[in-house]
Symmetry: C2
Subunit: 169 residues, 2 copies
DNA sequence: GTTGACTTGTTATGCTATAACATACGATAT
DNA sequence: ATATCGTATGTTATAGCATAACAAGTCAAC
């Protein structure tokens, strides 16, 4: 694969790339990770992850549900919410609170602080590497004796492609 | 005021302090700011800010609404949402997405990147100063050509008081 | 006093999320 | 084998969050 970005594939979402390979690879890593942990990657859960991996956009639970229904799974909200909850717990997906939506994790198994860059034009969501963001937050918190357990760090703005295009996609 | 924290009152929410003074002062600054800008601080809007300022907790729109109703304002959701929207636009309140709730800004008029520390035990929310958090985010974004417009940075964890108490408050 | 911009009230609806219970499945132990 | 137990899924019902759209009131400028 000659014109793929290097392994530090930050912001891959905003770069033209072989997404089918990208998705397949991430799914494989997720499977391996689940196996190694003894977590049960059941059909609904795996299908839910596949659906999230179809694009670098975030999906609402009800959108995921629609897709699951089409595949013959139960058609009530808990079906989607439970599968998504499992994926989030396993670090295979992230919840994007700003969008009330979920996105597949592009770095499953790698220790990383998810920082999301959300393009307001094309709706793509990239997971940026920002370990120093977490460092800065820990420092600020520590200065007042607060101990951080979990974080949500999200930013909306415009991706390189959309800033280039007048009309955007 | 001898035992008040110094002006860099970060994490004030987690420190015992003269909150009535804290609230009155913040409200006064908000009023001044609105005046200076020609923004219309109408009765509902001002009352909404007062309600948010009653504590350092975040409040859901429907909780705010209940209070507004008790004061004789309209009792439909848009009444609360519109007032809250105004306050957020004017930088007098912040939306805490993780909680689907709103909190008064404790630094109105000061340029600041809101970083919220949310205690899972006592529900208090502090606005920490973390300009280097924004710096780190901008750097990460810039490295892939993304331009950040707005951010949500939130952390849940435990505040100093709650870590000290076995049973918490 | 009429116009026009803005604010508030009100109706109605849509979207997001979870509690609670029933059923099915799969592994383990007797 | 079959009883048992934990886990996963299906299903019903409801709770919680948010906004569109229109009507009615307010206020200042012309
Ligand atoms: Zn991809
Ligand atoms: Zn991730
Ligand atoms: Zn205070
Ligand atoms: Zn603030």
């Amino acid at each position: 694969m000659p014109d793929m970005p290097p392994l530090g594939d930050t912001g891959l979402a905003f770069v033209r790339h072989d997404h089918s390979h990208c998705a397949k690879d991430t799914l494989a890593r997720a499977d391996a990770l689940s196996n190694a942990r003894g977590a049960r990657m059941t059909p609904v859960r795996r299908r839910t992850l596949e659906i999230l991996l179809e694009s670098h956009k975030a999906m609402g639970a009800y959108d995921v549900l629609e897709r699951l229904v089409a595949d013959g799974f139960g058609n009530q909200p808990p079906v989607a919410y439970r599968a998504l909850e499992f994926l989030v717990e396993q670090g295979l997906a992230h919840r994007i609170r700003r969008l009330n939506a979920f996105a597949a994790c592009m770095h499953p198994g790698e220790a990383h602080v998810p920082v999301f860059l959300i393009c307001t034009s094309c709706q793509l969501v990239a997971e940026a590497p920002a370990d120093d963001v977490r460092g800065a937050m820990d420092a600020a918190a520590a200065s007042i004796g607060f101990v951080i357990e979990r974080t949500n760090v999200e930013a909306v703005g415009r991706c390189p492609a959309c800033r280039g295009n007048r009309a955007c996609r």
